[in-house]
Point group: D2
Chain length 357, copies 4
Amino acid sequence: MNSFGKALRVTTFGESHGAGIGCVIDGLPANLKVDYAKIKEWLDRRKPGQNKYSTSRKEKEEFEILSGVFEGFTTGTPLAIYIANSDHKSSDYGSIKDLFRPGHADATYFYKYGIRDYRGGGRSSARESVARVAAAGVASLMLEELNIVVKSGVSSVGNVDGKKYDFNHAKTSEIFSLDKSAEGAQKDKILEAKNSHDSVGGTVVISILNAPKGLGEPLYDKLDSRLAEVMMGINGAKGVEIGLGVNSSKVFGSKNNDLMDKSGFITNNAGGILGGISSGAEILVKVHFKPTPSIFHEQKTLDKYGNEVVCKLKGRHDPCIAIRGSVVAEAMAVLTIADMLLLNLGSKVEHLKKIYG
Amino acid sequence: MNSFGKALRVTTFGESHGAGIGCVIDGLPANLKVDYAKIKEWLDRRKPGQNKYSTSRKEKEEFEILSGVFEGFTTGTPLAIYIANSDHKSSDYGSIKDLFRPGHADATYFYKYGIRDYRGGGRSSARESVARVAAAGVASLMLEELNIVVKSGVSSVGNVDGKKYDFNHAKTSEIFSLDKSAEGAQKDKILEAKNSHDSVGGTVVISILNAPKGLGEPLYDKLDSRLAEVMMGINGAKGVEIGLGVNSSKVFGSKNNDLMDKSGFITNNAGGILGGISSGAEILVKVHFKPTPSIFHEQKTLDKYGNEVVCKLKGRHDPCIAIRGSVVAEAMAVLTIADMLLLNLGSKVEHLKKIYG
Amino acid sequence: MNSFGKALRVTTFGESHGAGIGCVIDGLPANLKVDYAKIKEWLDRRKPGQNKYSTSRKEKEEFEILSGVFEGFTTGTPLAIYIANSDHKSSDYGSIKDLFRPGHADATYFYKYGIRDYRGGGRSSARESVARVAAAGVASLMLEELNIVVKSGVSSVGNVDGKKYDFNHAKTSEIFSLDKSAEGAQKDKILEAKNSHDSVGGTVVISILNAPKGLGEPLYDKLDSRLAEVMMGINGAKGVEIGLGVNSSKVFGSKNNDLMDKSGFITNNAGGILGGISSGAEILVKVHFKPTPSIFHEQKTLDKYGNEVVCKLKGRHDPCIAIRGSVVAEAMAVLTIADMLLLNLGSKVEHLKKIYG
Amino acid sequence: MNSFGKALRVTTFGESHGAGIGCVIDGLPANLKVDYAKIKEWLDRRKPGQNKYSTSRKEKEEFEILSGVFEGFTTGTPLAIYIANSDHKSSDYGSIKDLFRPGHADATYFYKYGIRDYRGGGRSSARESVARVAAAGVASLMLEELNIVVKSGVSSVGNVDGKKYDFNHAKTSEIFSLDKSAEGAQKDKILEAKNSHDSVGGTVVISILNAPKGLGEPLYDKLDSRLAEVMMGINGAKGVEIGLGVNSSKVFGSKNNDLMDKSGFITNNAGGILGGISSGAEILVKVHFKPTPSIFHEQKTLDKYGNEVVCKLKGRHDPCIAIRGSVVAEAMAVLTIADMLLLNLGSKVEHLKKIYG
């Protein structure tokens, strides 16, 4: 369905070329000071059309808070945010209304529902992520009260891997690159894809610092399980790793185990999560994105009547969805941690006594 | 919490060295013929102590169905299964009751709850997966009615990668290896780990054939998102991939997109899922497991009072959890598909008319 | 939280004097033809200011569908509806911003959240029910496809009881009275309350015809249990009965049991539900509403600092909330039945074979 | 489905004449001292066969805790309780296996599932309530830590109404009567029913004292809404009232509103709940039970083939289910309050700072 989170529950609605996109955030604690500039900042980071590595499509991303705030503070009631759509070019889509664009959800939405809004992918469009990012802008206020810090960046573009995770550099990089020394080659890779009317994949890293020990609700709301869920649910995500991730499957236990001394964990192969519960160490998540499916080559496909046809797309698309995907992944991390903070409140009877005693 | 699934909901309970492990399966359609031998077969595949590549610990895995079946058929009421524990050696754990075993959930359970059942890891033990496998044994009856086939196998052990996915070979392999030509080296790798009192990681592949088109409930119960969730929730899982997975992040869109002709998808980089909905192509999931954290080296750690101590484990453990993990991953795939089959029933008004009209 | 329903899930947001009220309807089957006039009709029935038995406050109740509809049909994606607020007189509320109006939620919202939007009761206002009614306008399209009919009316006002349930009469009655012969006295009772600056309680009856046998998910989503939940959740509801209700507690079993012959149930004391599952007989629910808490007498109360103060309300209020409450109760019945229709789809393996076979 | 509660989630399983009945309690805070005697006391209060006003059927009600407790304390993991069935007389049911007993769920289970366990009503039997009561025995430990007191009693039997709510008297009364002066006539009414092979309805009152202000999660998990849900979900319940209940629909607002002075609410017509949130006043719930449907008269009914037949029951049944129903209602109140205590923990950002700060 169209909601996620258990104690902090976000419901989103809207299609790419419909009236707008929105979300309802439910379960927010009362008395959080709502910082509109901060929410705008989140939306701006995700916004398309900011440089030549992104789509040239513009979105204004003016948001409106419809409910849940009174005199500048959250009231404990659902906070709804709405972002009206703009810069529509629905006419771009007329030619593809009956065919299934390769790599897109066109075929599967048609199979499932027997009807689909073909304009810009409708509900399956990455445009919907604006609602997730807006919600994270609100939820991040809660994390800030507890000094929890979530950061993101791009570690690789196509086969160009960075060597380090410099989240400060990522903030200033046009492609959110985590490694200044790889950034140039990564940019070149994006332009190579763009100039050949193609697209390219990429990988994103999320870091969460200062999360309290004890977040995660085993066995079926483990923190890593829930992070994997939300990350794999981002458009284009095809792989998720926690800590050493895939590489942990290649090594011996004596190399993988994180030993401890008085200062805490000596290594962090676990990526900050053991048994599905945060350990206090940095939480590290990696998300792998496929290349944008919208490319401008001629591609064989079917139409909805089962005929073989050639798909030749027009329009404007990001050559590498991982770039803006990093902001969405960061948003999902923020929302997941916020949910887990609330879910963990009942872990011990001592907590209840503190609140009610 | 301790339930997963939305329309088919499984709740598990029990600890490694408590009275037993059980599950309650809720939402099963009525009138499924319950095949006890099939459930036993599932449990037997997961059972430890079957060869030298596994732990020597024996478990009888006698299961009892406590409810939900009448005269051999499901009744639509919750089906509870209970497996009493046996072969306890709680005394093995006395020496570690106050310390945090590296790579285990000991520290985090203590942080979260302030109390932990240290015997065999308590609730965090891989022993709990017996309940998941039993539940899958029941849910698989539903998939069989619809000719959906789920298979699993081990694609790599440590750095020994197989080259192909031969699920038939996996069935007869002691280590569920997917590639006969790699199996010998994979076995050697396990014994190398075992003989050096160490452990080794591994990777598992799941294949789902004949799943109807249209499974998955976007945007927040996408099929891939939910598969990632349940797979990352298995003990020791650190990475999940769908289709081309991590490698899709390294290529161009023109290589990654799956074109179509009358016979269907020409390639299957997507792994059978587009926009979070099954496309009719084979669903392919890869799960990466870390090495068993229980190794028999001396390891630096802390005790619960914060003192630096040395952990020296005794006991019996799988040298490579990916082996038996493949059965658990297959079980989670079965349960996820069963849930999605039920959730999708309401996708079109035509379905309602077929049932109620 | 602010959602209800399991397979058909409605989330509402908005406050009385905020920007507007809205809902997100999730889980709607695709391919329902959306009838805007029908939705408007629902909103109009609930609308205040239509005659002297209701508040004189006007609301335009212009609704906008923000998502989930394409070319006139539902698409299976979330359908959001938004109704902007109008006719605000927030200034009416300045005098009560620090005190707890008797019978209202002012005190409890303050206790719970430490902050409250005092304008018109904020989130606790009956104004929110416009979202429920709009959602029911959409969900009723689904019931119509299956010929299920839900009706409502007012059976008593204060101590003036009607003797019969004439749902056709209720449609044309200004106070939705179910009994033409009692209607005059009921109207007089309302005017008596209004003219003495007071208010009066009332009782509503809901009838559901043609619901398929088998709706309701025992043991904890029983149809009667869920109806009781949603009815008691309407502002001002203090009692809910199914079938013979309270009176069934006063009689012998030989009087209460409904016997059967070939034509079905001979009596219907059960109100169409046995064991939490619909039996095919008419489903009958009764909801008792307290008098509007907003009256214009001087009343002793506390302010939020704990001081004893006198509350003297101004403003415009329904003298009997049961009248418009009947439309809200009907809406909740529609939404509950729609949810149950979807939840029941998986009750038998035969259903799955019909859809997927 | 077969679970209830959101933060404290109870899942039950089992049928009247199956192996046994059980529950899994999930979300319990860690570190509650588990008092086995207290749980036994709860089961004993509900136990049949204790005097001539109850069924003569005996149940041993030996319970076993299968998980979730370590060294006498809860660990935060799911606590499963199992009660094996005993004193079966399945042979009693052979004669009714194909017919629908009037007032029972036989017909509706057959309609819904196409199969039913006819022995003692299977899953629809009141026997299942033993799991609810056991769960309440555990959850009540949490309420005791916070000095919250839940009490129950029988206010009327058939048309014999008591005049007062003396919960202390109810504890010692064989029929849990709330009014010593009515008790004799109430007992006579039960025996009158019993001796005429009939049954009789009755009404139960629940009182909750010392619940913290602020419990209840509006708008769709209001405390009164959730209480109505769980009470109407008890076998045989046909009406639920909060506070003044049905009578509040008969009066003017000036009589119904509860004014306040420094000592708190001067009256308590609201029954301790305003806007779905606890106000600090005594929470009062009334539940109306129909007469036991199992009576020993000849009754016209259908068999599952649609033939008209005569039902003539044998066996042992409570002449008045409200008596033991009062213990079940008390149990559901305890579980609901426990759930609400956990859900409310995140209501204010101040709470998060207290726990994590």
